[in-house]
């Protein structure tokens, strides 16, 4: 196969990967999420190299399946997926388009990832005032949305950070997609 055709095939594959949604945040594609490292053309087959977002990601198998299905459906197969752990994925790899779409979807895009060289930061006493203020805002929002239950005092785990942002900025909740608002109601 000559070089132009090869380039065209991998380019088309990249375009296809832009249509494969992330199973957990379907507003963005796996390409925009930044987990596609490379698309390699081996002549008879394509190889798509992915990096998982975190060690225990239960969506990894689903992503692998949907990537292969999409490549096949576009007539670019056969293909295989290989996983590459290093370097580890970081939120810095989410593309500009991905960040815009996350925002539209109601998720605050993450800021630059910490490089990890900073010493451990303990919230403890020094942050009590900030926590109380945040808890108060959250409590107001919980009442506004007629939610009952625990008041978040603490930085939420990654799957829920979006809700924390929303709860401390009630005006933004209108922008939430209906299904996200519904999920929040359940929570």
């Amino acid at each position: 196969m000559n070089a132009t055709l090869e380039a065209a095939r991998t380019e088309r594959a990249w375009a296809v990967l832009d249509t494969v949604p992330d199973p957990e945040v379907p507003a963005i594609s796996v390409r925009e999420l930044g987990i596609v490292r490379e698309v390699l053309d081996h002549g008879t087959s394509l190889e798509v190299v992915l990096t998982p977002t975190y060690s225990g990601c239960p969506a990894t198998e689903v992503i692998e399946r949907s990537v292969l299905d999409a490549i096949d459906a576009a007539g670019l197969g056969p293909a295989r997926v290989t996983m590459r752990r290093a370097p580890a994925w970081t939120t810095d790899w989410i593309s500009a388009d991905g960040r815009r779409k996350l925002h539209q979807y109601g998720i605050a895009p993450p800021g630059p990832a910490a490089d990890g060289t900073a010493p451990i930061r303990i919230v403890g006493r020094r942050a009590d005032a900030v926590l109380r203020q945040r808890a108060h805002r959250a409590a107001v929002c919980l009442r506004l949305h007629r939610l009952q239950g625990a008041v978040p005092l603490h930085r939420l785990p990654r799957t829920l950070r979006t809700f924390q942002t929303d709860m401390s900025a009630p005006g933004r909740s209108q922008a939430l997609a209906p299904e996200r608002a519904a999920r929040r109601e359940i929570l």
Binding site: P52, Y54, S55, G56, C57, P58, R84, R85, A86, P87, A88, W89, T90, G116, I120, R121, I122, V123, G124, R125, G149, A150, V151, P152, H154, L156, P157, R158, T159, L160, L187
Partner: protein, 257 residues
């Protein structure tokens, strides 16, 4: 009923099993909080951290399986070994305890794992180094989460203070095991696979001193007691957690869903 697999006694394999089993068993313990944590966000945080640990265990146990002539996979190693072939330190198998016990154990183990992953990024085994690169980020978050809670409980109410003090008195007994060296450590250090346990002792103590100091807690005195989970001799709690983990794979060999 599925019988147990035989595990070779190769030093590299044992070094990997000590790490992989620490993640696996602590992940299982933290998973017990799912649906039971005091507030919903902690429920989700603990479950997410359990998932991180299981993910790390998957990577390390897969690598461990490749060291065996029988070429075991992660599931065989996770579910089909006898108790004596699990090499996690005893501290991770102790029963769930109350929330104070849980967060203090997490602070201790996450600090240890963070220091270990930092060193393992330079492992002579490229796959272990790659696993460490990802796991390190997760351990940092686990440590921060747990340390925050240790401080809040130590510096909280009389009740929270009593509970975290009781947890500290008990858990401290099991920490020397993390830093005791033996032939497995010596082999790992010699081959560049990873650090010997004792190399992490000083940095671990320094970080624990900082966390406990902020919480207003004093470092307990060392005692002569030594746990021995990493040599396969476990506490009475190990049998129960393994029974829960293994029952399905033993009763329905190869079951998947």
């Amino acid at each position: 009923m599925q019988g147990s697999i035989q595990v070779p006694t190769d030093p590299k394999l044992q070094y990997l099993l000590r790490i992989g089993d620490a993640c696996l068993i602590l992940g299982q313990r933290l998973g017990e909080w799912c649906g039971h944590a005091p507030i919903v966000e902690e429920d989700i945080a603990l479950s997410n951290m359990a998932l991180d640990l299981i993910g790390q265990a998957r990577g390390v146990l897969t690598l461990a399986g490749e060291q065996c002539p029988q070429d075991y996979d992660e599931d065989q190693l996770a579910f089909l070994r006898d108790e004596r072939d699990y090499l996690n330190p005893t501290i991770v198998e102790l029963e769930r305890g109350d929330f104070a016990f849980t967060v203090l154990r997490n602070a201790m183990v996450a600090t240890w794992l963070k220091l270990l992953w930092e060193r393992l990024r330079d492992s002579s085994d490229a796959e272990l180094a790659a696993i460490a690169g990802k796991a390190l980020k997760e351990a940092r978050y686990h440590q921060q989460h747990a340390a925050d809670w240790v401080v809040r409980l130590g510096d909280g109410t009389e009740e929270s203070r009593q509970r975290i003090e009781a947890a500290l008195a008990r858990l401290w007994l099991y920490t020397p095991e993390l830093f005791d060296d033996d032939a497995v450590d010596a082999a790992a250090r010699a081959s560049g696979l990873g650090p010997a346990g004792s190399e992490l002792r000083e940095p671990w103590l320094a970080e624990m001193r900082e966390i406990l100091g902020e919480a207003g807690l004093a470092l307990p005195k060392d005692t002569a007691f030594r746990s021995s989970g990493k040599r396969g001799v476990h506490s009475e709690h190990m049998g129960y957690i393994l029974a829960e983990m293994q029952h399905l794979q033993r009763a329905y060999p190869g079951g998947a869903w």
